[in-house]
């Protein structure tokens, strides 16, 4: 318990330092360049009490969830297939490489042409960047399954389904979890970036409005909310998936 209290104390110290440096720096600039901490805190409180706060957050969350859902589903299937069948991976590798190395801004512009100004480009870029991360993690995971356990399963005549269920899937759980942590974190940033560039709704839309009204305090307040959202969703995913058996993450 003592150790935990000390840990939180050190973390609080880190946050305090960050805020202190920011506050000091804000003394040297106009509030239009770098607003002071109390002003941003006030804006944050005001934002949350606005009637359209939850609909705005909900819109972004929906896009994020759709993009992540599609990306994780497609990525998991491809990752398993690639891991189980290396020849298939040779065929799929260029596809993954393209998804991985084309910058998200290119995808945004392309998706805008394909889908229009309706929010789907956000879903698309989140999915497009989620797929390669999940595929690479899972295919590595499948190939990293303990060969001794596979031999054991073979000698005890496990069916393919049984091997998948009791050996392969539980073995790749840590790989899947780390992929999830990465894509959830990255997804938030991409969803909001997509919104800024292709819509006027959601958190990205609110940031655009703040930019047009020259309200850096609102932009920083939204950034805070994004950090919080990212942290909470990552912890939530971790908590949901580390329940049954095995070590927590």
């Amino acid at each position: 318990m003592r150790g935990k209290a000390a840990l939180w104390l050190r973390r609080a110290l880190g946050v305090g330092l960050l805020l202190g440096v920011w506050q000091l720096a804000s003394l040297c600039f106009s509030p239009l360049v770098l607003p002071p901490v109390p002003q941003v805190a006030g804006t944050l409180a005001w934002l949350i009490r606005e009637p359209d706060f939850w609909p705005t957050v909900g819109t972004t969350l929906l896009r994020l969830a759709l993009g992540l859902g599609i990306g994780i589903a497609v990525g998991s299937i491809l990752g398993l297939l690639f891991g189980l069948c290396p020849k298939l991976e040779d065929v799929g590798a260029p596809f993954i490489h393209v998804l991985q190395s084309v910058p998200p801004v290119c995808w945004v512009v392309l998706a805008l042409v394909w889908f229009g100004f309706n929010g789907w480009p956000c879903v698309f870029i989140v999915a497009a960047s989620t797929i390669p991360t999940v595929v690479i993690n899972l295919s590595h995971g499948v190939r990293g399954v303990d060969p001794e356990l596979l031999e054991m399963a073979r000698l005890y005549r496990f069916s393919r389904r049984k091997v998948l269920l009791h050996v392969t899937l539980p073995s790749i759980r840590p790989y899947f979890l780390s992929a999830l942590e990465i894509v959830v974190g990255g997804g938030w940033k991409l969803a909001v970036m997509g919104e800024v560039l292709t819509t006027n709704s959601g958190i990205g839309g609110a940031i655009t409005t703040a930019r047009l009204n020259i309200q850096p305090d609102a932009i920083i307040a939204w950034a805070f909310l994004l950090v919080a959202g990212c942290f909470i969703t990552q912890k939530l995913v971790c908590l949901l998936l580390s329940r049954r058996g095995g070590a927590p993450c």
Binding site: E148, E151, M152, L155, Y156, F158, H166, P170
Partner: protein, 228 residues
């Protein structure tokens, strides 16, 4: 009956097994004694079909075959009970229970392998092998690294479970006492490239006292053969 004839195996330039032949019938416990690194595990892998021999034939290994590996190889994410039950799911639950009791793991059914000691994990693996059943049991130094008391206890457990179904057991060890206690026959292996250099027949019944005076001469001979 398991029949190996003329088994040869080399790994790149290293000849491991050379023209090795042996037979194993139901109801026999054959102990293989040999220096470490002499290819005993390779031999068991060839019998079980995990490794293909370069030459020679394996007959009679296509039925049910249980293999107890040198390490326990339990699924870390399944409990003791699940690990045992999984190899023959259609069996009634009572069978698994009675095996767990037979290997002295009652009370630990819901434990995960990571929560067990090495000896307990081996006992779980032994129960799993017996639950799977079959005409042939391969055991690769199953009690290595366990202390004397547990080893003797596990040997008597092995015997009591073996007496129910009387499968053919091929048992690799480098403990002469283990072999003297349970084996019906002992094969001493020559160092690489390995072949059987001498067979010893043991008087029944199994479960002998390895320190009995009538086994002293046999033990001397085996030691002479190994160190020879």
């Amino acid at each position: 009956m398991l029949r190996l004839s003329g088994i040869c195996k080399r790994f790149e330039d290293l000849p491991v097994l050379s023209n090795l032949s042996l037979t194993l019938s139901r109801g026999e416990i054959v102990a293989l004694i040999g220096p470490s690194g002499c290819g005993k595990t390779t031999l068991l892998n060839i019998i079980s079909g995990l490794t293909a021999p370069d030459a020679g034939t394996v007959e009679g290994a296509d039925g049910r075959l249980s293999y107890m590996f040198q390490s326990a190889r339990l699924l870390p994410w399944r409990t003791v009970e699940e690990n045992i039950r999984l190899v023959r799911e259609e069996a009634p639950a009572g069978e698994v229970r009675s095996l767990i009791t037979a290997v002295g793991l009652e009370g630990f059914e819901r434990y995960y392998p990571g929560q067990l000691s090495g000896g307990m994990a081996r006992r779980c693996a032994l129960a799993r092998a017996f639950h799977f059943g079959g005409e042939i049991f391969l055991m690769d130094e199953p009690f290595q690294g366990l202390d004397y008391g547990i080893r003797m206890e596990m040997l008597s457990m092995l015997l009591s479970i073996w007496q129910r179904e009387r499968p053919g057991v091929l048992f690799v060890t480098h403990e002469i006492d283990e072999a003297l206690t349970v084996a019906t026959r002992i094969a001493v292996l020559a160092p690489r490239p390995t072949a059987i250099c001498q067979w010893f027949d043991l008087p029944g019944p199994e479960g002998r006292d390895a320190s009995a005076p009538e086994l002293a001469r046999l033990r001397q001979e085996i030691i002479r053969r190994i160190t020879g």
